[in-house]
Every structure is written in C-alpha cells, then in structure tokens.
C-alpha cells in the first residue's frame, strides 16, 4: 500500500494538470461567490433598514436576516455544485484508484443509517442522517467500506423552536474482522475519566446506562485513552489482545482525533470524529496548498490503510 508521502507525490505529479484547471475554476468561483454574497448582504441590509423602522420587537429584522442567510446558503450550494463534482471525479477518484484498484467510489452515497446504528458506537436516537463519499470494496479478503457521516438529533425549546445537535460527524469505517466473536465490544474515548478524574469518572463509566459491562483493560496507556464496554469479559480480551490495543493506540495517535470502535456482527466499526465534511474541495485556500493535499491523502491513507494497520488481513487459525 502506498504511503502518505507517495500519495502526496501522486497528487502533485499525476494530478497536476487537473489541479491546475481546477485552480482556475476555483479562483473564478471564489470571485463569483464573494460577488453574490455581497449582493445578497446589501439587499438584506436594505430590507432590514426599511423593515426596522416600524418593527418594534425586532422579529421582522430577525426574519429578514435569517431569510438572507438561508438564500446565501442555498446560492452557495448551487454555485459550488459543479466544482465539487469535478473535484471529486478528477482528484479524489484517481487518488482512491491509486491506493487500490478494487475499491469503488460513489461521491453522493453514504453508509446506510441502519449499519451506523448497528455499530452501537452512539446510543442517542438519530433524527437526521446524511453523508457522502462512499468507498467500498475488498482489500485482499477483507471487505471494507467507509464514508463521511453526519448524524444529528433535534431538540425543541419551550417555544417549540427546534435546534440540531451533532451526534457524530466524521469518517465511519466498517470492515471484516478476522476473529470469531458472538457478543459486542465497544471502545469509546475516555472522556469521563479525563474530565472527572479516576474516582468519579470511573464510577460514571461503571454506571453508564445503555452500555454493557465495563471491561477494564490491562494496558494502562490504553485504559487512559479509552473505555471499553463488552457483553463478555473474556471475548473483549480475546479481541483486544495486547498487540491489538497497541495498534489501536497507534492508530489513534496517527489520526489525532477522537476515535470510537466497536466489534459487532463479525465486523469492526470505526468512527473518526473530524467534525467536518471530508474530501470536499476548498474555495478560499489553494488546492495546491501542501497542507490541503496532505489532508486528502492522509485521510484516505488512514481509512483504507486500516486493513493493514490493524492487520485485519492476517489469516488467523479460526477464520479461514
């Protein structure tokens, strides 16, 4: 498998003609977006000024402001649609192909909600589910799929006004696991102990409603980074051997994000919380920017590389 630096070379060398073309498009689009936004802002301010004169409680001003904001958002989406499409076809698709030819890329699809829910990474009920950039295929014998996911829930205040809150936003990966197991093992970032210390945090972890029993792991570093819940104390340790714990710690280190892991239904599920939509083109920074290039190649390398990184392709005795 290609390393991040090899992929970055590929990005700058092989994709350079397309990148240049996209850069031109980006600059033109940027001016267009700034112009349209300026126009919408002026109109909105004008209307606010007129409405504001006779608007005692400010409801009208708020309404016009919100409307202007919504129109701007809609216009933005419409304007960048073609650019985004081209970027994904000309940059992301060849990058994925360069990593592994067997992988299928569908820019508008995402992992279905029932699979995400079945992973039990998050117990909160989902009210809105979206995503894109689905990649799936087999790497050796290991079936792998991942996509961008945004899962949210809705709350309403006393006035009935609704607001949306993110449950998870980032990369969701599902892959075959190379050991047999029957139950479920869920590994979450250790936020309780980090926030409340080991005594209260530990008690909170132990009494986490909606989760299985707490499984204390015998790797202090792992225990510090994660909290494990499992339906079977022995099975959880059968999956989380000392070397697997080490690999997961290394993986977390490399992603630099909070990661959520579960072993359910013969699969490993991984949620990497980036809190943004990945594999999207930039508008205000250059596509040739090194940091930008690295962020695309590294994310792809990390998600496809999981098979090698966690040795999911290692043939074990039990599952042939």
């Amino acid at each position: 498998m290609k390393s991040t630096s090899e992929l970055t070379d590929f990005y700058y060398n092989e994709l350079y003609p397309d990148l240049q073309e996209l850069e031109k498009e980006r600059k033109a689009l940027r001016s267009k977006v700034i112009g349209v936004f300026g126009f919408i802002t002026l109109i909105t301010l004008g209307i606010i000024y007129m409405v504001g004169e006779g608007d005692g409680d400010g409801d009208g001003v708020f309404f016009v402001g919100a409307l202007g904001f919504a129109i701007a958002g809609f216009a933005y989406k419409l304007m960048i649609k073609d650019y985004t499409f081209e970027f994904k076809e000309k940059i992301i698709r060849p990058l994925i192909k360069a990593i592994d030819d067997n992988l299928k890329y569908s820019p508008t699809l995402h992992i279905p909600q029932h699979l995400f829910t079945a992973s039990r990474l998050f117990t909160k009920d989902i009210d809105r589910f979206s995503g894109n950039d689905l990649v799936r295929g087999d790497i050796g014998d290991v079936n792998l799929s991942f996509s961008d996911i945004h899962a949210e829930y809705e709350t309403r205040d006393s006035k009935g006004k609704s607001s949306w809150h993110t449950i998870f936003r980032g990369l969701f990966i599902a892959a075959d696991f190379n050991k047999h197991f029957k139950g479920s093992t869920v590994i979450l970032p250790d936020s309780a102990e980090k926030t409340f210390g080991s005594l209260i945090g530990g008690w909170l972890q132990k009494n986490n409603i909606g989760r299985n029993d707490l499984v204390k792991m015998d790797n202090p570093e792992f225990e510090k980074a994660f909290v494990v819940y499992g339906s079977d104390q022995i099975e959880a340790r059968y999956i989380l051997t000392h070397s697997m714990m080490k690999r997961l710690l290394d993986y977390k280190e490399r992603t630099q994000q909070d990661i959520y892991i579960s072993f359910i239904n013969t699969k490993i599920h991984l949620g990497i919380y980036y809190d943004k939509d990945l594999f999207e083109p930039t508008l205000f920074t250059s596509l040739l920017d090194y940091k930008q290039a690295i962020s695309y190649t590294q994310t792809l390398q990390l998600s496809i590389g999981i098979v090698e990184e966690l040795k999911l392709n290692e043939k074990l005795w039990s599952k042939v």
């Binding site: 204390k216 022995i234 099975e235 340790r237 000392h242 005795w317 039990s318």
Partner: protein
C-alpha cells in the same frame, strides 16, 4: 431522634452496599473462573488426539508426551481446587509449547494435515485461554483490592474472604507472542 434515625439509616445502607459489592466481586471471580474452566477443558479435550497423532513420529520426546498426558489426567480429576487448576494450567501451557516447538524438527509431522489442523485449533484455544486468564486476573484484582482496601476490608474479614491467586502471565504472553511465527520459525 430523627437525626440518629437518619444516621442509622445511612450506616445500614452503607453496610448493605459494601456487602453487596463484595458478594458481586466474589461472584464475578467465580463466574469468570467457570468460563476459564470451560476453555481449559477444550484444550484438555484436544490432547489425546494430539498425542496419538504425533507419538509415532516423536521418538525423542516420549517423556514430554507422557508428561502432557499425566498433566491432563490430573487436571481432569474431579474436586481439584482452583489453585491447583491454575498451577496445572501453567505447566500444561509450557509443556504444550515445547511439543509445538519439537514438531518443527519433524518435516513429516509438519506437513501432516491432521497435525496442522490440531496446531491451528490449539493456537486458537490458547488465544482464548489467554483472554480468559486476563479476564480472571482482572476480576481477582478487583476482588483482592476490595478485601484489602478501606472500608470494605473490615466486612471482608468478617465474611472470612481471603485473597485469591491470579494466573501468572508469562513475559512471552505479555508480549502477545505470535504463535504462527513460532510455528513458521
């Protein structure tokens, strides 16, 4: 009057909670040991097959093979204590490890399908045993902590709870030795 009643209530509640937590920990140890036992038994069941498959070839390791058989018969005796089981397990692990290494010296054995299958099954069982030992050790550590730490230690001594032994995890196991590599070496 009411204050003393509240104090009395709190004390009783604390005692009940401590008692229940101790019982819970003791049961957890027993519970997991039962699972350990089941998996250990799985390994013992493999041994007769293993010994009969390799003994015709392994002329120099007769002693080793009879030791394994002997250990198995000891371990499968009824009414042996948990401590004895733990000790026998350690001996069994090392004896089986030696046999597996010895197999490498016999090309015919290495290529034998039955032996290969046995090796795989055994390695799988070993992985399960390793997980079970770690689970048991954690449960025992929780239990031992509870009977030695304040405030539960007073109640534990009244209940005649005693420290339990843990499985010794060998350095090799801690490194999580890759048995496959061992086979291929």
């Amino acid at each position: 009057m009411s204050t003393s009643l509240i104090v009395f209530g709190v004390v009783v509640l604390a005692l009940v909670l401590m008692y229940n937590s101790l019982i819970g920990k003791k049961n957890q140890v027993e519970n997991i040991f039962a699972s350990v036992d089941t998996i250990l038994k799985k390994r013992y069941d493999l041994i007769p097959n293993l010994v009969s498959s390799v003994q015709t070839y392994m002329t120099h390791e007769k002693e080793l093979l009879s030791k394994v058989t002997e250990l198995r018969s000891q371990a499968t005796k009824p009414n042996i204590s948990d401590e004895q089981k733990i000790k026998l397990d350690a001996q069994m692990t090392s004896a089986l490890g030696s046999i597996m290494i010895a197999v490498e010296a016999y090309p015919d054995l290495k290529a034998n399908e039955n032996v290969m299958h046995l090796q795989r099954t055994l390695a799988e069982v070993e992985a399960q045993i390793s997980a079970a030992r770690r689970a048991y050790n954690q449960a025992v550590t929780d239990y031992n902590n509870a009977i030695e730490m304040l405030p539960t230690n007073f109640m534990a001594s009244m209940m005649h709870y005693q420290r339990k032994e843990v499985f010794e995890i060998s350095e090799g196991e801690r490194q999580n030795v890759d048995i496959k590599v061992l086979f291929n070496s």
